[in-house]
Symmetry: C2
Subunit: 485 residues, 2 copies
């Protein structure tokens, strides 16, 4: 449905990235000049500049002053995390909430360096503008609006969201949209709308711990599907799982998966939607990071390829505009009426001051400019912290190359138990998100999710260095022990 | 725990009400003068004035200009609804949500006269003051607050609530309070915290349809307990039920029950708490109407008598201060940690703009003054509409005498199917809440809940008259049919 034909510069950037991946252009090679490329490809200089800008943003090439563009040295290419982990394929009762709960509490202490946090730095958001928009809209509020507020949500906000979907090439059915208290509530409502207690739900591996918590709360069982660190859910594995199990739903993040940062290619998204539609297995799509792409264009959601109303697309403003406002939504396809009923039963409707503030902010313009700045700040910081990790962490550490968002996922040497690392780091005032949180059966014991969304926090460098030192020490300590064994 | 010793004037008012109930003082009798009463009881004139004011507010006596106070004529005492309905005592699967959902949608059309609404008139709330408080607080917000916002809720708001509990003589444990998206979410979280799918929960008869919806959503079964229209849950019946069934929880509204308006006497509340504590059956107490008493003093919640943390007390600002803001809370006793975890899993945290606006409003003072005005407006309107009903509804109609709130519960003549009445009324632009909504097994077919919380809506009188006429016609139509049968 969506027009996802790449633009000229995207096509050009893709071609060059492909050439680099295939080794035709190697680390340190100078790229053809803009003039040369214009002539060879028959495109304008601005197209070439845009393409190079894109590749630069993704960390594939770098500009050197007065010299041109060069393929970036992937200093330790062997350390990039690229193989999907192979999960157990039995259905598992879920019980991660106690651990996740403790984790969330620790990240809320402002004295603790927030590498375990789920949110980017708060100063990256236009909180003053939102507050002004909120004050303005609340002055205009008619008393009738407070008691006639619909469970579906504020009409102005719904209109604004529908317009954004349409601009992304995703036409929504008129009654598909339900406003909720953040994506968290939207996802929970969608999950409940399509499941009953005891049902099996497929989640990614690793997966966002809140998905596991939602399953736990609704007495559902999880089956994890192999998930590629750069391209997301492995469809062959998914096809096998839906053959073996009676699967009630899938809960996936095709865009900038948490914690991997994987971005499912368009063809893969399309195939995913078709695979599930053929079996009428609802796809709950968590797209809260979709706006935080490092690329030049918003990656389409899987919802863009939904022909049957089988995709329940959930997102929010919490990670990209208004944390704490708790405004999210579901575009729930053919399950929208059921989601709406559940919303009514769960919390009746969503806070009017929050909805009006965001609707007012969107109406005044400036959201897309804010998003551009936010994306740039996050991309730059991601590259910077990645280099710090490469420098300070022990040999054998592997780290993802996410296509956006603000998380890095690390695989540490086998000697390092990440939960222990987490506790040691907390003791010196640094939070992390240990890998065991991201799996129903507590795999990923050597893994760690780090938040790289705090560009101006002066404590980050020392904190990453400290984490590296702790990991290094744990590796060292383990060696003699092994020698004795 | 709470100091619930009546004050002098309450004691005096109680004694006089008792005398009237027992027939010692009859309709039309002049009450002793203030001076006489002072002498006889050894109290001050202000105590007598307060006592008479209280009796007047409750519609028991009336002041006549330059003449004194008289016992009000209970024109049709036989018509007051006073017998508890006897519910089936088997556990019932619940399925009222579709009907309730349709009802809620109809009450949101501003063209429809809102006799079926769940909210009082919006102009009764200090919305401008709230908006100003919100704007002021949001300007002061530090960026860090948006991402460190706790699942438990804003600390300022929590402090203000704890203070209000303390002033009502209900000391809360330090971590007992969880802020939620309205009482609806708080109640749902509490219900889930103490039950598992398939469990049995005791609810009142009739009961608030949202309680039935919550049971339905969580795959629970309902057992209804006989509920007295003026004094609430019949404890003998409850004792029998908890003996017969393995009851996981009770969900009751001891203060101004919806739809009956019943107010459980203090002794009965205390006995209820003890009965359930002895069996460790959690009491989920819905107290959203507690501030809307017609009496002079806030009735204590059952929570006031909780010695064991067995009572999960839920309330909100939606019915008494800030509809649409979606701020409620649970004081969940020993289940608070579990409620907090569920809150984190369900919607993470509650909207900051809404919480700060209410916290700011409470801090500036004026809430209690607003509540006094609101209570007075609602009491006056309740008496007014009650008289309209007595005038326009067919003989045999019985109506509750609620101790506050803004609902009347009508029992119509047997010939009148209230659901049909509801549909006929909707056709002429008047909403009602038919009785079948208030029971898991769709009893109360001749019953109707009417909202009497719209003092200045000029359409109310004509709407009540029309309802009466429709009911009258349905009664008339039924008679020949019966004669033929």
């Amino acid at each position: 449905m969506a027009d996802n034909t790449p633009t000229r510069y995207e096509q050009l950037a893709d071609d060059m990235a492909q050439a680099i991946r295939e080794g035709l252009l190697k680390s340190g090679d100078r790229l053809p000049s803009v003039r040369q490329t214009c002539q060879r490809r028959g495109v304008s200089p601005s197209t070439v500049f845009q393409a190079y800008g894109l590749l630069e943003a993704r960390g594939i090439i770098e500009a050197r002053a007065r010299s041109g563009y060069y393929v970036r040295s992937q200093k330790r290419p062997s350390r990039a995390l690229s193989e999907p982990a192979v999960p157990r394929s039995e259905a598992t009762e879920v019980a991660v909430s106690a651990l996740a709960f403790d984790l969330l509490e620790t990240t809320r202490d402002p004295q603790v360096v927030p590498l375990g946090s789920a949110f980017p730095a708060p100063h990256l958001f236009p909180l003053d503008e939102l507050a002004r928009a909120g004050a303005r809209e609340m002055r205009k509020l008619l008393p009738e609006q407070v008691t006639t507020a619909l469970t579906v949500g504020d009409e102005g906000l719904r209109q604004a969201l529908r317009r954004r979907y349409a601009l992304q090439g995703v036409p929504l059915a008129p009654d598909e949209l339900v406003i909720a208290n953040g994506a968290m509530e939207a996802l929970n409502l969608c999950l409940q709308a399509v499941t009953s207690p005891g049902d099996i739900v497929v989640v990614e591996s690793p997966t966002f711990y809140a998905a596991l918590q939602a399953l736990e709360r609704l007495h559902l069982r999880a089956v994890e599907v192999a998930t590629d660190p750069s391209e997301g859910v492995v469809l062959e594995d998914l096809a096998r799982l839906v053959g073996e199990h009676d699967v009630a739903a899938c809960w996936f993040m095709p865009n900038l998966q948490n914690p991997l940062g994987a971005l499912m290619p368009v063809a893969r998204k399309r195939a995913l939607v078709d695979l599930l539609a053929a079996r009428s297995i609802p796809l709950i799509e968590d797209d809260v990071y979709g706006e935080l792409y490092a690329d030049v264009r918003r990656p389409p959601p899987a919802k863009a390829f939904d022909q049957t109303g089988n995709v329940l697309h959930c997102a929010s403003f919490s990670k990209c505009l208004a944390p704490g406002y708790r405004v999210g939504w579901a575009a729930a396809g053919r399950h929208a009426a059921q989601v709406l009923r559940l919303k009514m039963m769960t919390s009746l409707s969503t806070s009017i001051p929050s909805q009006l503030a965001i609707a007012g902010y969107l109406a005044q313009g400036g959201y897309d400019r804010h998003l551009r700045q936010l994306r740039e700040a996050l991309s730059t910081e991601q590259r910077r912290v990645r280099r710090l990790i490469e420098r300070h962490f022990p040999a054998g550490t592997r780290v993802t190359l996410p296509a956006g968002g603000y998380f890095l996922w690390l695989e540490l040497p086998e000697a390092v138990n990440a939960l222990e690392l987490h506790h040691r780091a907390l003791a010196i005032g640094v939070s992390t998100a240990p890998g065991v949180l991201f799996s129903a059966d507590r795999r990923f014991v050597h893994h760690l999710r780090l938040n790289v969304g705090h560009p101006d926090d002066p404590r980050i460098d020392a904190a990453v260095r400290s984490l590296g030192q702790i990991a290094e020490a744990m590796t060292r300590d383990a060696k003699p022990a092994r020698a004795h064994a």
